[in-house]
């Protein structure tokens, strides 16, 4: 029986090549998109779950705040781990500190500046499951001067040599013996490193034991959820025990919390974080898009099958007369949709395999799929069954319900309910397409807006150089002076962070203001505002002429002034103290800078204080835009003179700023791809539907033409139904689109706003696409000679 079903299904498929091609084409594209998105989603949700201790691991986060805004902070300082382990010895089994770092790594004559050299406690490999290919996980980090590196790095430095026992040099002060080789990291790890060095090598530095020097990640291993709850409820006391005095002095407190490992990856709201994070909303959004695209493709099958039900009606009638009960016919039609879906899945697999590498390189992902894995096979079977059910159900139920007496008389009246459902489904298809197109427009509008909005500072031809080694730091002033003498260098400043980069938060006390206020900070030399083209709205800029600016002056931004209850003018001369930095002294506000976007335009402008301080690690150099290449060559020459052992590296401020929106940009590109695909698949369906309806109305068209109707009138007659459907879709979808767009925009402090032009453009595109697809059929039908069409009767 089943064989018989497949035979019929196959012959039907071959017989109706166009119909099959449209269905298989749409379904394979839909399935390809869905499979790729599923891989992506699986990968996102599998983050960190390879750790054996996944359920027992927690990250220690601090809770800080800018005044009343509370937020989580990713980094902690050295003493937290041991103190927690000590104070909660009953509950906390173990803690491990991980400090993301970078450094110059040298083997023989090869030196590379490595960005992912992490320092960690010696129990790192016991707590986390990063398998070692060579070395012993319990002892690899036991001796302070050891290092474990990934296979990839082993090959980079040692080539064919056996790395074990060899010595690598880190910066100019550590000789490290290779004690282990790791397998390359899984792509779904929030910790992303190439080297692990025992944190013991820095244990003796004074800052390492400073509670306020937050530069590392602290993880705790806790046996049960109950114990973790117990620890969490006692963290306030823990903090009071160690920080009571500081809290009093700063007039603000910091709290601690435990973040379960399952939440680490998706919490991208944690500030000052140094791990890989993902966005759960985006993952969900893509999941929904995948479902919608699959639905659009399934609807094509449903619609095309029911539209041509007339052709199958006689067969169904005969089969019933021959004794087929309804359930057998339902099975037969399900087998047909199963066959079509199976073929589409096979094509989709080929497509996925060929597209995935392109997709990966374009979006900088590392997704992979093995179609032989049981999990993947299960997923494909699930897709097969779901699509078969969704696409095949309605046709199976409708077709199997035909009564033989009616259909065998061959005067099948068009069932109005099936036409209604068909139209409804087309409305749905174009609603989704319209929604995606409008969404795409909004996202790209918002991106354009953020990237072209006046940020309040000058980001053009600013070169950033990290003074990342002791040679250059010791001679920073000499380096700066040498650069200032170069012709293509307009201005330069050392700073703790460039706009778009790092701006730490500190507590400050302010004259005449009760309590303390938390402000974002920049520590920079006197040329900061000049280099970035910031505007002074009251008071004056820093200046060397006063001599004391570097010890006594600060600038604040307008938001700070406003938050402190001052006008820009009143702010001048007020005293401010950073309560968290020893030796900061009391500083005077000498000027107010116009608000500028020192962080992403996703965030609102926070209160900011700029402290004149010549010792910072980042050098921002404004160069002559006409001679950027020469300018960089000049900087490099000077670098080589002062720090010959270290590779010279630089970035451009504007490209760094663009990276702030990289995620949104990728989203927008994906959105474009998905909306194009969705409308293409939907149009494919309409194309076929238009063909059927033109065919069904052949006689009507013939009669109308004989009665004197013009070609254009016929064209309108055949096209207007589709246009009506699309307009209906647009009208229905617009309110939803409006709602979700506004919701999406809430992620951004500065919004472009949902304007009608987005809807008009999206509507225009949708209608245009439909017109183009449908017209072809309509024109063909309307130009037929009526003699031909009426001869059939």
């Amino acid at each position: 029986m089943i064989r018989n079903y497949f035979k019929i299904a196959w012959r039907n498929l071959i017989k109706n090549k166009g119909f099959s091609a449209i269905n298989i084409g749409g379904l394979s594209v839909g399935l390809t998109v869905s499979i790729i998105i599923s891989i992506y989603v699986f990968n996102e949700y599998s983050y960190d779950n390879f750790h054996e201790n996944y359920d027992k691991l927690y990250r220690v986060l601090r809770i800080g705040g800018i005044n009343d805004d509370k937020y989580l902070i990713g980094v902690t300082s050295g003493p937290f781990g041991p103190a927690l382990e000590n104070d909660f010895s009953e509950s906390i089994e173990n803690t491990v500190r991980v400090m993301p770092n970078d450094g110059l790594v040298t083997y023989k004559n090869n030196s590379f500046y490595e960005k992912k050299v992490y320092l960690a406690d010696s129990n790192f490999f016991e707590i986390f499951s990063f398998p070692l290919k060579e070395g012993v996980k319990e002892s690899a980090l036991e001796k302070p001067n050891s290092v474990v590196l990934t296979q990839e790095m082993a090959a980079k430095y040692f080539g064919d040599e056996d790395p074990m026992g060899k010595t690598l040099q880190l910066d100019d002060n550590f000789e490290l013996t290779v004690t282990g080789i790791m397998e390359d990291l899984p792509t779904n790890s929030h910790l992303d490193f190439d080297f692990i060095v025992p944190i013991a090598i820095i244990k003796n530095y004074e800052w390492f034991n400073d509670w306020w020097n937050n530069s590392m990640l602290t993880y705790a291993l806790i046996d049960s959820r109950k114990e973790a709850k117990y620890v969490e409820s006692n963290l306030t006391g823990f903090m009071d025990k160690y920080f009571a005095e500081d809290f009093k002095k700063n007039d603000s407190r910091i709290d601690l919390t435990l973040q379960p490992f399952s939440e680490v990856y998706f919490n991208n709201k944690v500030r000052y974080d140094r791990i890989t994070t993902g966005d759960n909303t985006v993952v969900k959004m893509f999941l929904i898009i995948a479902i919608f695209i699959l639905l659009i493709a399934s609807i094509n099958f449903t619609n095309l099958t029911t539209a041509r039900s007339n052709r199958r009606a006689r067969e169904i009638g005969v089969r019933k007369v021959l004794g087929a009960i309804r359930s057998k016919l339902i099975w037969q039609f399900f087998v047909e949709s199963l066959l079509l879906t199976s073929i589409s899945i096979l094509i989709a697999i080929v497509l996925v395999l060929s597209i995935l590498p392109i997709f990966n390189s374009y979006f900088d992902l590392q997704l992979s799929i093995n179609f032989l894995m049981p999990k993947v096979i299960l997923m494909l079977v699930a897709f097969l069954l779901i699509v078969t059910l969704i696409a095949g159900s309605y046709p199976a139920l409708l077709l199997s319900s035909f009564r033989p007496v009616k259909v065998l008389k061959s005067s099948l009246s068009k069932s109005s309910s099936s036409i209604f459902i068909r139209k409804g489904l087309v409305v749905f298809q174009f609603s989704v397409s319209f929604f995606l197109i409008a969404g795409t427009l909004l996202i790209s509008n918002q991106l354009d807006f953020m990237q072209s909005k006046d940020k309040g500072f000058d980001d053009e031809s600013v070169v950033l150089v990290r003074m990342n080694n002791s040679d250059i730091q010791r001679n920073a002033i000499a380096f700066k002076n040498r650069l200032k003498a170069e012709p293509n260098i307009i201005s330069l400043t050392t700073t703790s962070g460039a706009p778009g980069g790092f701006h730490d938060t500190y507590s400050h006390t302010v004259e005449q203001v009760d309590g303390s206020i938390r402000l974002r900070t920049v520590f920079a030399d006197v040329d900061y505002t000049k280099t970035f083209g910031l505007q002074i709205v009251s008071g004056r800029d820093f200046s060397k002429d006063f001599g004391t600016d570097e010890t006594h002056a600060v600038l604040i931004n307008e938001t700070s002034a406003k938050n402190l209850g001052w006008t820009n003018e009143e702010a001048i001369g007020k005293n401010i103290v950073n309560t968290m930095i020893e030796g900061y002294g009391t500083r005077k506000v000498v000027g107010v800078v116009k608000d500028y976007h020192f962080s992403s335009l996703k965030d609102k402008i926070d209160p900011l204080i700029i402290t004149a301080d010549p010792f910072s690690w980042l050098l921002a150099i404004k160069v002559n835009a006409a001679n950027i290449k020469q300018a960089i060559a000049q900087i490099e020459t000077q670098w080589k003179i002062i720090a010959p052992n270290y590779p010279f590296e630089y970035t451009f401020l504007d490209t760094n700023l663009d990276k702030l929106y990289k995620k949104e940009q990728q989203e927008s590109q994906l959105f474009i791809i998905f909306s194009i695909l969705s409308i293409l698949i939907a149009c494919l369906g309409s194309f076929a539907l238009a063909a059927y309806s033109a065919e069904e109305r052949t006689k009507e068209v013939g009669v109308r033409k004989i009665l004197g109707s013009s070609v254009f009138a016929i064209f309108l007659l055949l096209t207007k139904d589709f246009v009506k459907i699309v307009f209906l879709a647009i009208v229905i979808t617009s309110p939803f689109a409006y709602y979700f767009m506004n919701k999406w925009l809430q992620n951004f402090a500065y919004q472009v706003g949902v304007n009608t032009s987005i809807f008009i453009t999206a509507a225009f595109v949708t209608v245009f696409m439909v017109l183009v697809t449908v017209s072809w059929q309509s024109i063909k039908a309307s130009r037929n000679n009526p003699i031909d069409s009426l001869r059939y009767e």
């Binding site: 035979k7 006689r314 067969e315 005969v318 004794g323």
Partner: protein
């Protein structure tokens, strides 16, 4: 007695008027009968045939088939009943275009859950009986009308029905082909199969043992 129809009415309502398609039909058919139903277009011949074949409902009256009261049976039992005992032959053959001659004949057996080996031998017998073994792998479109109707009859006979219902079986055929088909029916009837045919042709009606004339839904 094979079947019995008593006081049967079928009507449709059109614009407030009740139009009778069948009006007070009274009919008894015995096993071995060869009945021809005649009458002008619209007289209700096909409707009556469809009701006998249990494909169509009626509004009032009784219909007993092999002593089963069809009018009270549920759809599913009714389907089982006609599946078991009735074979249909159509004017336009109604072969399934996607199936070969062999598969067309086999189809009723599939729906009756015959085993594969049984199906093979039954279909082979049937192909033999009608001399169409050589055509078994052809599709309907590759056959002449007469040949298609022979396949149609073979398909109707495959499940060994007691009753064959034929709706103008020669209507689409030329006279020579038509004669062939009618002779085939005659032969089947001689073998014991009950046949009810709807026909316009006086000549075809003479093959039967009894003629029922219908006019405006009434037997005259």
């Amino acid at each position: 007695m094979l079947l019995e129809i008593k006081d049967l009415f079928k009507w449709v309502n059109s614009g407030g008027n009740r139009i009778f398609l069948l009006n007070d039909i009274e009919l008894t058919i015995n096993e071995g009968d060869f009945i021809s139903i005649m009458g002008p277009s619209g007289s209700g011949k096909t409707t009556l045939l469809n009701i006998i074949g249990m494909l169509d409902d009626f509004n009032e009256g009784e219909y007993n088939f092999l002593n089963e009261p069809v009018h009270t049976l549920k759809e599913k039992y009714r389907a089982n009943l006609y599946k078991e005992y009735i074979g249909f032959v159509f004017q336009s053959y109604h072969l399934i275009d996607e199936l070969t001659v062999y598969e067309n004949i086999e189809t009723p057996l599939l729906y009756k859950n015959y085993k594969s080996s049984e199906r093979k031998s039954l279909v082979a017998d049937m192909l033999d009986r009608f001399n169409i073994v050589g055509k078994k792998d052809l599709f309907p479109s590759q056959l002449s009308g007469g040949q298609q109707q022979i396949v149609g009859i073979a398909r109707a006979l495959i499940s060994n029905p007691k009753l064959i219902l034929a709706d103008e079986p020669t209507g689409n055929l030329n006279s020579k082909q038509g004669e062939e088909i009618m002779n085939l029916f005659k032969q089947l009837n001689n073998d014991g199969v009950t046949i009810i045919q709807v026909t316009h042709s006086e000549k075809n009606a003479t093959y039967g043992s009894r003629i029922i004339n219908l006019l405006d839904g009434m037997i005259v």
